[in-house]
Amino acid sequence: MSKILKIAQREYVETVKTKTFLIGLLLAPAITVGIIFFAHLVSRSEGGPRPPVKVAVTDLSTELSGQIERGFEKHNDSHPNRQILFQALEDSQNQAAVQERGKAGVRSGKIDAYVVIDKDILDGPGKVYFYTHKPKPANLDAFWTLERIINGLVVDQRCRLKNLSPELLAEIRSVPIERVEIGSGKDEQRLQSQTERMTGMMVPFFFMFLIYMGIMGIGQQMLSSVIEEKNSRIIEMLLSAVTPFQLMAGKILGLAGIGLTVVSLWAVTAYGAALWQGLGIEITGGLLFYFLLYYVLGFLLFSSILAGVGSVCNTLKESQNLMMPIVLVFVVPLISWYQLVQSPNGLFARVLSFIPPVTPLVMILRISAGSGVWGLEILASIVLLLAALLVTMWLAARIFRTGILMYGKRPSIREIFRWLRQS
């Protein structure tokens, strides 16, 4: 055991001293802080003036025409940076011809949108048609505004027809909502902004991402460490003093230490950044406990896999090819995190929880999503992780033992299976 600790200690100290480690350590928080800061800047500024959106309207009901132009002007007064320009179409008795001209204008790009309002829009089943041609993503917000303006005008006009005052309607529709977060204490309560709600959503993702970054980033260190020892022929010098298992275990342990250091630093930075931005994030001790537990288990599992992979490869590039399938598995919870947060106890989340390499990611996501994951399920996932860890370490140790002494050609899968069978 003391040999394992000494190997771990060397691994830790020598890794901490490398430049790549330092860069990796500082880069992630730097990027995080940068993004928050940048997002802050963007949300404060209105953004510069953007090109006006040109819109033509054919009102078959004939009752809205004047109001539409006025509606646009009102909007333009309050949004000088994002104007909506009313384009008149050449009038004609032939409505079909007018509409064709409108559509042609949209097609040719002279106007960005063409609106046709049905004759019986005010008192019948008529519709409003928005014609666009290959709309630019940058214009989507303006179209949305346009729809809102026209919707408002139609509603106002309908009110007048029915002798309702639009002001009355606005009064009726107005329901002020105050979002209040109450604390654990009796009188603790505070208003919660929309951002804070969003942040609440992001916390589970953040926890999962932290585990992912920690496992992946530091895991790479395992590959390069094993391959360095193999390439520079240190392995056999070491093996006169320690067993392959001690060597592997020491490495895993040392890098787990690195991983904990890094993740703690990142977490503290992120927490600090959140406080600095005035975002209250409540993290319970229980969650931290599970976070550490799942992180350590997941890390040990992944780095055992990497120790096995690294031992049969001669270059980092070779090992990264072998790693591809495993990395792809990790991407699944990353891209489906939103769905997992929405239904943390759904079938998808449950199944994913029991696929060992991603178990830590999914479980921490589910637990931090805060909707009572069964205690039994947590226990089962931990038992499964432990079992997977033992099996993986056993397999990896066997591959490691033979692989680290093989220089030159990478062994085939069949050869590796033969090593596994050998006692």
């Binding site: 000494k6 360095e228 520079s232 010098m237 093996l239 006169s240 002494l405």
Partner: protein, 307 residues
């Protein structure tokens, strides 16, 4: 009564890699305080044997005992092993590498503090102690590797092709380390395919080819056993009668000397007697074959038998 304690005993050890039988029923006893050479051509199974001794690979069958101990874990701290493929951490300093290997070989902090400077001095790296390995020359790497191997003052030193790639100065340094260890009553096993190295250093040898023992024993005895049938002489007078002598099988002229092959059961002393009676003998030498010749003879012969 007093049996010499063996530092290492291999009993019927075999190891195969797939179809290849790398080591085939190998048995050998290495007495304590001897320098034992494992000789053989490339691919003979030397490295495999040494790796099995150090337990880097496990034998398929047979037993290995070191200092009378069946498990290497009990005696690892008493062994030093220098593999054929050897390297060091490039980013660590010489001093730290020695301290690290000392630590994983089970030295205490006090022992490390004492051993590291001592060995840095002995391999003349004292001035380079705090340089990183990548800043050292190749020759210095080799010195550092010796020091790493012996940092724990091993009682059994195992060296795999220790002389390959060494410059003459480092060869001498390594020899002096081996000599010193022999003087201190320690055991050294090394493998090589360079015979004159073995000849100068070994007390005993094990000659293996294709995983099998061809020859095993003390070097002096092996030489004397192999030697008795060739005599080199320098004579004055008519020498034509020699070919007719009953114990002579072949006579060859080598410059001013004659090389006389004797029949197996005859004595060189009989030849000397016969010569002294007829001619003036200026030189009479019982040819001791070099290890190289023995090696070529035996390995060549075993290869012929096999094919």
């Amino acid at each position: 009564m007093f049996e010499i304690m063996n530092a290492l005993v291999l009993d019927n050890v075999s190891k195969s890699f797939g179809e290849l039988r790398a080591v085939d029923s190998l048995s050998v006893q290495v007495p304590t305080a001897s320098v034992y050479g494992f000789l053989g051509p490339n691919g003979a199974g030397k490295t495999t044997t040494l790796r099995m001794i150090i337990s880097i690979i496990k034998p398929d069958s047979g037993g290995i005992s070191i200092f009378g101990n069946g498990s290497i874990e009990q005696v690892r701290a008493r062994i030093g092993y220098m593999p054929e493929e050897r390297g060091l951490y490039r980013k660590m300093t010489a001093r730290k590498i020695l301290a690290y290997f000392g630590a994983i070989k089970g030295l205490t902090v006090d022992q490390i503090a004492q051993q590291v400077p001592k060995w840095l001095d002995r391999v003349e790296l004292g001035d380079w102690a705090d340089k990183k390995v990548e800043e050292l020359s190749r020759g210095m790497h080799q010195k550092l590797q010796f020091a790493v191997t012996v940092i724990n003052e091993p009682e059994l030193l195992i060296l795999d092709e220790p002389f390959s790639g060494l410059d003459p100065l480092n060869q001498e340094l390594l020899k002096s380390i081996i000599d010193r260890m022999r003087d201190e009553g320690k055991t050294v096993i090394f493998s090589t395919h360079v015979m004159h190295e073995a000849e100068k250093l070994c007390d005993s040898i094990l000659l293996i080819n294709k995983g099998k023992v061809i020859l095993d024993g003390e070097l002096n005895r092996i030489r004397s056993q192999q030697s008795s049938d060739v005599v080199s002489v320098e004579l004055e007078g008519d020498t034509t009668f020699i070919e007719t002598l009953p114990m002579v099988t072949k006579v060859q002229l080598h410059g001013s000397r004659l090389e006389i092959n004797l029949s197996r059961d005859s004595e060189s002393q009989q030849l000397l007697k016969a010569l002294v009676d007829r001619v003036r003998v200026r030189a009479f030498e019982i040819k001791v074959p070099s290890l190289h010749e023995i090696f070529v003879n035996l390995v060549g012969a075993s290869n012929v038998e096999d094919s």
